[in-house]
């Protein structure tokens, strides 16, 4: 690869810039003009979505490999590159980010309190997410990764709900602890690679000794694993979800947690395949515990957002299990699950957000009978719950199917143990649905309006995505596979 590679219009930089420009244009608007702030946010989110969709339809999954590559040398002495590209692994993640940002901005349409700062921080966060997904250079990956973490603190502590300062502080400290493992790992890799390049693929070509791989992988796994809510480093995640405002929960659980799993896959597994081989039993063990543990603790929760938070722990365990198998189906399933879970949780938080906005409570025993009061808002939540249970013809079913096939093949005991989690997750989701939405009409909330058609649109988009990829998993899997098959072949 030469130092300069540009094929026509730099679409990937354009996607990244859509959020950066969004951020700056929001900053230019006077704070009292909240309507304009939202319109501008919506505009830039739409631009990002259109560019990403264009990218998705023009991505050639028959060709595979890294496409739309942009590679410019940035700092010669350190070997840092402005290096972007898409393949089957980050393509679904980009689509997920674009969809969740778009629907998240729309969901927050009724926000009035310090709207300018809110949307500015949200765009900063998403800029970091896009950057992390797009970059193929370790230095930039780390920079974007941290860019995406910091806005969480103000977003939660200013606009948040239950125990917001505690939640924000806990989340930030946890994630920084993760960063503190990732940064030395990246520097270690850079040094061991000859201190000449941060380019991920050049480092992969150089290769590391088994000893280095073992150390590197476990550092990267734990560092990124904290963000992916790997058991037992998961407790920040439900607390953070509960404290965060709706759109932030959507982006946080929908996209940000995927950064962790993506980091393990993209950096950890690319650079240290043998390191993964060494640690895969541990990884599978933690994942299986996470699946069952998350579901069991979810059974005891009385706060709607806590329930979703623990279901995320359980579902992210499925991602970890898929990655640990090191097989085509397992990794296919894991990436698909990252996408499916992202859309599903976004829908979860989006519908809980509406109910919370109106009733000012998300405590399950205080709700009850919501189907009578808000039939449409309830339907959204119930659909998300069904997706969470893994009902067929919803996207997550296929992901779980693939992961469990691979898991039973590679870790028979762990795989069967994790399957038990499916029963418990059905129990706890239906329990929540029953207590929150079924039962006699709750007179306290009888006067509250149901979702307006305008606010229903973002939720319907999310449902549409879940069902589309549930009916036609091939559309997504062909893309994912184009990267995973050569990837697994390189182990």
């Amino acid at each position: 690869m030469t130092s300069m590679e540009m094929a026509g219009f730099p679409i990937l930089t354009a996607i990244l810039m859509s959020t950066v420009l969004g951020l700056f244009s929001i900053l230019l608007i006077p704070p009292e003009r909240t309507k304009l702030v939202k319109q501008v946010s919506m505009f830039w989110a739409t631009v990002g979505l259109i560019l990403t969709l264009w990218l998705y339809f023009n991505f050639d999954h028959n060709k595979g490999g890294l496409q739309f590559v942009e590679r410019v040398l940035w700092v010669k002495s350190l070997g840092i590159y402005w290096f972007h590209g898409v393949d089957g692994i980050n393509m679904p993640m980009l689509l997920l980010t674009a969809v969740v940002l778009f629907t998240g901005v729309w969901t927050m349409w009724e926000l009035e309190y310090r709207a300018k700062e809110f949307f500015a921080l949200m765009f900063l966060l998403v800029a970091g997410v896009y950057g992390m997904f797009l970059s193929m250079d370790l230095f930039w990956m780390f920079v974007w990764y941290d860019v995406s973490l910091f806005p969480m603190y103000p977003l939660i502590s200013i606009w948040g709900g239950t125990r917001k300062e505690y939640g924000a502080m806990k989340l930030t400290l946890y994630l920084l602890a993760g960063s503190a493992l990732i940064l030395p790992a990246i520097i270690y890799a850079w040094v061991q690679g000859g201190a000449v390049t941060f380019d991920l693929f050049e480092l992969q070509r150089i290769g590391f000794s088994l000893y280095d791989q073992k150390i590197l992988f476990v550092m990267l796994y734990l560092g990124f694993g904290i963000l992916a809510a790997v058991w037992p480093f998961h407790t920040w995640s439900p607390v953070g979800h509960v404290a965060a405002p709706t759109a932030v929960s959507m982006i946080h659980a929908g996209v940000l947690m995927k950064l962790g799993a993506y980091g393990i896959l993209r950096i950890g597994m690319t650079l240290c395949p043998q390191g993964l081989g060494y640690w895969s039993d541990l990884m599978a063990l933690l994942a299986c515990i996470g699946i069952v543990y998350g579901a069991l603790v979810g059974l005891a929760q009385t706060d709607l957002k806590y329930v979703i938070g623990y279901s995320s722990v359980s579902h992210m365990g499925i991602v970890g299990l898929g990655l640990a198998t090191m097989t085509v189906s397992g990794i296919n399933g894991a990436v698909f699950q990252m996408f499916a879970h992202g859309v599903m949780t976004a829908l979860f938080f989006s519908s809980v957000g509406y109910i919370y906005d109106k009733t000012h409570t998300k405590v399950i025993p205080e709700l009850g009978g919501m189907s009578k009061t808000m039939p449409i808002a309830s339907a959204f939540f119930i659909i998300a719950a069904l997706a969470g249970i893994g009902v067929p013809l919803m996207a997550s079913f296929w992901a779980e199917l693939l992961v469990f096939i691979a898991a039973v093949q590679v870790f028979p005991v762990g795989g069967i143990f994790a399957l038990v989690g499916l029963i418990i997750s059905a129990l706890f989701m239906l329990r929540v649905v029953q207590r929150t939405f079924y039962g006699e009409k709750n007179e306290k909330f009888a006067h509250l309006p149901d979702v307006s058609p305008f606010l229903a649109v973002p939720r319907i988009i999310l449902i549409g995505v879940i069902l589309f990829f549930g009916f036609f998993p091939k559309v997504m899997l062909d893309v994912i596979q184009s990267a995973v098959i050569p990837f697994v072949g390189s182990f």
Binding site: A300, V391, P392, I405, V420, Y438
Partner: protein, 648 residues
Amino acid sequence: MDAIFKDPVLLATVIGTSLPFLSMAVILCLTRHNPMLSSRISVTAIVVAAICALFNLAKVASASHAFRFDTAWMSSGNIHLTFGYYLDPLSALMLTIVAVVACLVQIYSLGYMSGDPGYSRYYAFMSLFAWAMMNMVIASTLIQLFIFWELVGLASYMLIGFYYEKFSASQAGKKAFVMTRVGDVGFFLGIIILTLGFGNLGIPDLNSAPGTGTLTTGFITMAAMLIFCGVVGKSAQFPLITWLPDAMEGPTPVSALLHSATMVAAGVYVFSRIFPFFAASPDAMLVALAIGTVTMLLASTMAMTTYDLKQVWAYSTVSQLGMMVMSLAAGGYFAGVFHLTTHAGFKALLFLCSGIFIHEFHTNDMRVIGKQGGRRQIIPMICITVGALALSGVPPFSGFFSKEAILAALNAQASPIWLFAGLFGAFLTAYYSFRLIFYLLFPKGGIEEKHAVHEMDSHGHKEEHHGGLFWAMAVPVMILACVTVVLGFTEHSLQGYIMAGGGAVKHASTQAAAGGEAHGGVVGHQLLVILGISAGLLGIILAWFEFGRKGASRNGFLSYFPPVWKLFDARWYMDAFFRWFLDTAIYSGLTNIFTRNDRRIIDGGIDGICFFTEAGGRIFSFMQSGMLQYNLLIMVLVAGLAMLFCLV
């Protein structure tokens, strides 16, 4: 795509099985606020589907081969999943049963559900069910079958909890979903194992697999037993029985369609669908035979103590499903499928008749209905008696023929115990069915005239104003009653049709029954017929003696044994056991421990670290006082200590 339009069978299949889905989508998205239109859309869709199914049945019967159409759906690595249709005699028959019963039940519901606030929602979920069930029946691969199997379960959950404002209804829906999920996880694991060990989930391919010798018997046994877990869950076999009686919380037409005629028979259908695969494992067949027998006997005993009309039929459904499983497991392939067919007819009939009583008297209690003049409802009373006669195996009703066929299959087993169990089950079935009939016909203390007159008035009143609605309910019932009378006589043509294409099936069923063929059965053929009829008649006579005749005590012999009565009434304490298990092991066990672990140990640890860091900072901050004398003092002290250290 072209292939679909060239082949009329495929075209009919696609149209018939997709229309209900469209109907559901249209109702949910567009016509939710227009109940009349919703019901019309749904009924139209299911009528077209039924016509298509009948057309397919005729086509399959006249053709000498099965119709198959496959298309690649998804591939990942070396896993390739296909979707498609596989229409052979069995699936065409089942498709017809499902479509026709669904059609009749939806027409019946026009009357039964009229005026319900959830009318549109009801028809949307009924359409969802029809779509999922029909697609499950014609699925060409096991994974496709599983997908729609789960969706059928979803429809069942939604319809059981239809009156979701009632706690017991939403509870029953949840129970049904979770309990069947327990079985489904086994099924899922079976599919995973087959994917890994065999790699081809096509149903005909699976059926021919044992013959080729590529699979070991141990592997087949394991896969078959795991798939049988799914059958246990869906068909409410032991030990997952109790969700089905609870499922009666749903509207009565739902119970008729889902929880007796079609959905719960899905388990038995899957068993017969991959029968040759099962039959290749004698161990799996033996386990299935034992589970079917236990289920049949347990459920029959439970039915003897309840006074709830629908509960009786629910238990009887469980026991008849157990009987079908017994039959298949004993190698009686045709007998099992035939009983499934006749059972779908007469059990739907029984439920729909009960629905008319419940609609009229607003109670499920057979004693109250009898007292208030249930027998004056001429049409449902005659029809329910027809259904009960068929259920008890009295000739010439359809149940007689299929039950005889099953007994013949059991007779061919080496051990006589299965035949005796079957006969005893038939006796109990007749007893509890006619216990119910006699409660309706001859209530204790006669009909209360005051109520009866009142009821007559209101009935007449109703017929004036809701004449159309009454007939919407009565006509499907009468059609089903006619079917019940006629269906039995088609045994031979049906047998020829079902066994026509199935070389593998025929081989497997003779192989499975081989044990008993050698010694020519436990009893002779004529004797078996006599035994079968007399088991049923004996039950009816006992019921007459206790509940029917003048001066009968109307308590039943079980009331003389209170502990036994209590045992049967409490469903052999199965529910109590599950509740106990859930409460102690899950809620106050693991969940509790793990939640504490999260709060106390993990969070506590982290908070502790934070606390000590902060506290440490506070302590050390005293050193940063900025006071010169203090700093000097420390310096001198440290220097002095260092000197002392060097000197010593």
